[in-house]
């Protein structure tokens, strides 16, 4: 019997604050002035963060690993019992802290960034709703509550990507995000239903305790994990459902930070880590995840090499980093995946907010070919951006090093080829990130007439905090190699069952690290020579390019392919059904039958005065007489 933990019931406050913020800023939209909406919204998320922190300590001091808080019975019919309940355990607490912590910083930053937008109140309402949905997602104690949040973040991303709704291209990007997510969601909901049919419940703890009875490779578990995976692929922007994420940068920059770092895309990783027990029973699915993750990591990194929009480079880097997280999941190293989620949340939020600061300073310009020399004009933004770049590139002792190295060493344990491919992707990442850094901050200013300036404090302070986290965040999980005790992984141990694997010997590990560091150093040097010493600027649009450059500049033509294979044919099919099937076959056939009847009717009309109401009364009377006639005779 589990003892109730005092005060743990307060967990409902965590999603309640942003919900309240959404309602207040949403309903009082017209009457809130100046920065009020931003302050309210930020305060709400900050309060959520504080409550999450308190919950963290409450759970720690209780000596228990988890607690379930049931609010009410949502759906309870027949054998189906789905409570609206939250699960507070080490995994959900980790995610809650990331979502509210990083989320709060993004909210605060937005007060400065969005200060002159006329719909700033709606913006904060939607940001709060986004945070609320994400909290439902990570706190739900069963798959269906998770699904509420899952679709909720889809809705909020739709709203925020299309925030500037006058622009048709943005609206298209918003719809694309929602529809691609929905394709994934269909797989996910079918997976949840199959879970219910198999286990007669959708509650995590009940499913996982029953799952032990299934053998490894049981077909039904494999099918369930694949269906859930489809959902994760959509939400976490993996191949083949990744093209919505780069387009999602149509929204205001803080939205990108929220989508890419704290919320939304991490949901797929979270869900698979949450379902680790099921995935451990499905080696086939794990192998699929490895392939998807690695392919996404490398292809997105390649595309990142040739992008010239500062946000687009970062967007593809997110897709690529998510690929690494998937790789970790596929290797059964779930806590390594979640650890990379954590460090990635720090440095990716920082990168996007830094990019926002740059765009803000450049008066809305996003093309890195027109930037340059910002190092001196915006030193704070530069140093924080540098920290994030070092972190994402995996340079020690920055946070990304620890999380990426963990994934790489797991890959090495699995197979050397996997390791080489993953390392290759990491080197590409390092190159395009330094390309970005050098083009934006080094050299001479290339845009004439611009007067870049450092951003206000409300924007730079979040940058500084995130920079500190990006630099030191890795120390949460120092491996035994560096005399650490892998705190983070151990903390997750009670909630996430990672696959056991043989530890590499320390000498092998040191060798791998030194080797990869040497290569990273070479890549940075090469990037420096190309973009700083030789001051090379990427080609203008329309200039001739080599075949390979053209291919990756155009993102492997995947968008064009989807348009040709799915979008256009869907339109044709719609026209075909309507013009040919409906209006040429079905409808005329029925009409023909109708006209025949009408001709008979017009003959009969000669007997009457042609009064429609009379017909109707005659009809009812006729029916009655007809029945009586038949029955009497």
């Amino acid at each position: 019997m589990v003892n109730p933990i005092p005060y743990i019931d307060l967990a409902w406050l965590v999603p309640a604050f942003p919900l309240l913020g959404f309602l207040v800023t949403g309903l009082a939209n017209k009457s809130l002035k100046h920065k009020q909406a931003g302050i309210i919204a930020s305060a709400m998320v900050l309060l959520s963060f504080l409550v999450s922190l308190v919950l963290f300590f409450i759970l720690r001091s209780s000596g228990q690993n988890e607690a379930t808080i049931t609010l009410f019975n949502w759906i309870s019919i027949g054998g189906m019992n789905i409570p609206f309940a939250f699960l507070i355990d080490h995994l959900s607490l980790t995610m809650m802290l990331i979502v509210t912590g990083v989320g709060a910083l993004i909210h605060i930053y937005s007060i400065g960034y969005m200060h002159d937008d006329e719909r700033v109140n709606s913006f904060f309402a939607q940001m709060n709703l986004f945070t609320f949905s994400m909290l439902l997602l990570v706190m739900g104690a069963n798959y269906l509550v998770l699904f509420i949040g899952w679709e909720g973040v889809g809705l909020c991303s739709y709203l925020l990507i299309g925030f500037w709704f006058k622009n048709p291209a943005y609206n298209y990007a918003a719809r694309k995000a929602f529809v691609m997510n929905r394709i994934g969601d269909l797989g996910f909901i079918l997976g949840i239903i199959l879970l219910f049919i198999t286990f007669k419940t959708v509650t995590f703890s009940e499913i996982f305790s029953q799952a032990a009875a299934f053998p490894v490779g049981a077909p039904v578990i494999t099918l369930i994990t694949i269906l859930l995976l489809i959902g994760a692929v959509g939400k976490s922007a993996q191949i083949p459902l990744f093209t919505w994420l780069p387009d999602a940068m149509a929204g205001p920059t803080p939205v990108s930070a929220l989508i890419h770092a704290a919320t939304m895309v991490t949901a797929g990783i979270y869900m698979i880590a949450r379902s680790s027990i099921l995935y451990n029973l499905a080696p086939l699915t794990l192998n699929i995840i490895i392939v998807i993750g690695l392919a996404t990591a490398i292809i997105a990194a390649l595309i990142g090499l040739k992008q010239n929009d500062i946000k687009k480079v970062l967007a593809y880097s997110t897709v690529s980093q998510l690929g690494y997280m998937f790789l970790a999941l596929g290797l059964g190293a779930y806590s390594a995946g979640v650890f990379h989620v954590t460090t990635h949340a720090f440095f990716k939020a920082l990168l996007f907010l830094g990019a926002g600061s740059v765009i803000h300073a450049m008066g809305g310009e996003q093309d890195i070919r027109k930037m340059g020399g910002l190092r001196k004009k915006m030193p704070l933004t530069y140093f924080t951006f540098l920290a994030a770049t070092l972190a994402i590139s995996g340079i020690p002792p920055f946070s990304g090093f620890f999380s990426k190295d963990l994934i790489l060493s797991k890959a090495f344990e699995h197979s050397v080829i996997l390791y080489i491919l993953a390392l290759g992707g990491a080197l590409i990442t390092c190159f395009y990130m330094f390309r970005l850094l050098y083009l934006v901050f080094f050299g001479e200013q290339r845009l004439a007439g611009a007067h870049p300036h450092e951003s206000p404090k409300v924007m730079t302070i979040p940058l500084i905090i995130l920079a500190v986290l990006s630099v030191f965040g890795g120390f949460l999980n120092i491996p035994s190699l560096f005399n650490g005790d892998s705190k983070f992984s151990n903390y997750l141990h009670s909630a996430v069952v990672s696959k056991a694997s043989e530890e590499l010997s320390h000498s092998t590990e040191i060798g791998l690290i030194l080797g990869s560091l040497l290569l990273l150093g070479l890549v940075i040097f090469f990037a420096y020579r190309t973009f700083v010493s030789k001051s090379m600027i990427p080609a203008k649009d329309g200039e001739p390019m080599s075949f390979f450059s053209k291919l990756i500049y155009n993102k492997f033509y995947i968008d064009e392919m989807y348009t040709a294979v799915f979008e256009k044919p869907f339109g044709y099919l719609s026209d075909f059904f309507y013009n040919k099937v409906e209006n040429t076959v079905l409808d005329p056939v029925v009409d023909e039958i109708g006209f025949t009847t009408a001709r008979v009717g017009s003959l009969l009309r000669k007997l009457q005065q042609g009064n429609m109401s009379f017909y109707l009364f005659a009809m009812v009377a006729g029916i009655l007489l007809f029945i009586i006639f038949i029955l009497i005779v």
Binding site: F72, N73, W74, I75, S76, I77, G78, M80, L144, F147, I148, E151, G152, L155, G162, F165, K166, N167, P168, N171, R175, F178, V179, R182, I183, D185, L186, I189, L190, I193, L194, F196, I197, F570, G571, L573, S574, D575, F577, Y578, V581, E582, L586, D587, V590, D591, I593, G594, T597, A598, S613, L616, M619, V620, I623, F626, I627, I628, I630, L631
Partner: protein, 488 residues
């Protein structure tokens, strides 16, 4: 006795309206009548005792005027009485022709619909079934839009054809009853008709319901009728009439000819799923918003029909829940369609756009209804469709996949339509649009509240229908051993 009162309130109020010529007063009386009906219907929910009413009507035929209800009829009655106040309010503060006749006809329709759901024998059921058609016919013919003459005629012939089959079926069943013939539903369900007879009788009875719902390919009257119908007419058609088809099928087919149902089960499910996909795909490229929503409604109702023929516990729970949810959502949608037409003067999507700039509150409420329509969690639509897809999954994973595609396709066409109407730059057509008036809030806010409340706390509805769902799902279980389903 309450059931008789519920049946007569709208009828008597309708007669009174015919005597009055003051437009505003007529509308108020109609609304008052509808609200009284709603209260009376809700009183059925809270009284433990079942209300019924029965007198001998046509003596020598042993036909009784018998009214009563069970969980299924109760859901239908709640739907009817819940929607009619909104349907009436949809005409308030608006210029309309010939007001007293219009509202009398609306109330007559309500009365007839109530009769359908209360009738305890097939004869009475059939009379009311036909009676719904007459006032509605005039509403469409006199207040309809472009091409109303031809379209109404088509609608009329279409449904009448179905009714004739139904009539034949009822008479046939009547002739089969042992001893003194009767048309009581209870007698019909004890007939034990031979399997071979049930197999052909199925189509005789089903056709009328299939046309009303409508099931592919008997739907071709629907898009044109919805498009030309006046707002209040289309609300009645889409909100309540479609459910009348579902109700009829539940009453006539499953208890009376379970073997026939079982035999055709997969055929109908597949036809319905074809309807789901077909209508959703067509909706995508419609240029008229009302036609688009007509096809979307067909897609949603087709999914409900598929659920009905799966007839397992979750499917039927989902179906009956969706009856309410779809009714409320579609009425809200058509209300917004009316607003757009009023304000912009057109429903052609290429001419619309940027309305959100001028009417931000309308844009928000429209979005909420759209979200309900595409079954986002925490709206009523999600609960219903989740249960329906669960039920389909128990029958076959492919049924669930094809039924579930509606989630994706619905998002595609609804958000596309929303974008084309509301977002983007201002169009010349949306020149002098104003935001919502008070009456619009009075209609839309409660409807949206119902959509959200049912999505967050659906339990009361489940409890209401629990008993009749259990009865119904037991109908097909023993049958499966008697006769194999039509092989596919």
């Amino acid at each position: 006795m309450i059931v008789l009162v519920i049946l007569l309130i709208p009828f008597i109020a309708g007669l009174l309206l015919l005597l009055n010529r003051n437009a505003a007063a007529v509308k108020l009386v109609a609304l008052a009548s509808a609200i009284v009906s709603l209260v009376a219907t809700l009183s059925l929910v809270f009284t433990a005792q079942l209300s019924s009413y029965s007198v001998i009507w046509i003596n020598f035929l042993e036909i009784k005027f018998a009214l009563g209800y069970d969980g299924t009829s109760l859901i239908m009655l709640i739907l009817t009485s819940l929607l009619f106040p909104f349907i009436i309010m949809a005409g308030m503060k608006r210029e309309q022709q010939n007001v007293s006749l219009l509202y009398a006809l609306i109330l007559f329709t309500q009365s007839a619909l109530t009769g359908v759901f209360l009738a305890q024998n097939a004869f009475l059921f059939y009379i009311f079934w036909e009676l719904t058609l007459i006032p509605l016919y005039f509403i469409l013919l006199l207040w309809g839009g472009e091409g109303r003459r031809n379209v109404t005629f088509k609608f009329f012939i279409y449904t009448l054809t179905g009714s004739l089959f139904l009539l034949f079926g009822i008479i046939y069943l009547y002739s089969l009853t042992p001893g003194v013939h009767t048309t009581d539903f209870s007698a019909f369900s004890n007939l034990n008709i031979p399997a071979n007879t049930q197999i052909w009788l199925f189509w005789v009875l089903f056709i009328a319901f299939a046309i009303k719902m409508p099931v592919f390919p008997f739907h071709t009257w629907q898009p044109s009728t919805y498009t030309m119908a006046p707002t209040q007419g289309v609300m009645i058609l889409a909100g309540v009439m479609t459910k009348m088809g579902i109700y009829g099928a539940l009453r006539f087919l499953f208890p009376v000819i379970p073997l026939g149902v079982h035999y055709w089960q997969n055929t109908i499910i597949i036809l319905s799923l074809i309807g789901v996909i077909y209508a959703s795909v067509i909706a995508f490229r419609q240029t008229n918003l009302k036609t688009l929503i007509a096809f979307s409604s067909m897609a949603h109702v087709s999914l409900m029909v598929a659920a009905m023929f799966v007839l397992n516990y979750y499917a039927v729970q989902g179906l009956l829940f969706q009856v309410l949810s779809h009714g409320v959502t579609i009425v809200a949608l058509f209300y917004i369609v009316m607003l757009i037409e009023e304000k912009a003067g057109t429903l052609e999507l290429p001419k619309l756009g940027g309305i959100k700039l001028l009417a931000p509150n309308m844009a928000i409420l429209f979005l909420l209804v759209v979200l309900g329509s595409i079954a986002l969690p925490l709206t009523a639509g999600f609960v219903g469709e989740f249960l329906i897809i669960t039920g389909l999954f128990q029958q076959s994973i492919w049924f669930a996949v094809f039924g579930g595609i509606t989630m994706v396709l619905g998002a595609i066409y609804m958000l596309y339509a929303y974008q084309r109407v509301m977002l983007g730059e201002k169009r010349p057509g949306s020149g002098n649009i104003t935001d919502l008036k008070r009456i619009d809030y009075i209609v839309l806010i409660p409807l949206i509240t119902i959509i959200l409340v049912l999505g967050i706390y659906p339990q009361p509805v489940f409890n209401l229908v629990e008993a009749s769902v259990t009865t119904m799902q037991n109908l097909l279980v023993p049958v499966a051993e008697v006769i194999p389903a039509l092989p596919l």
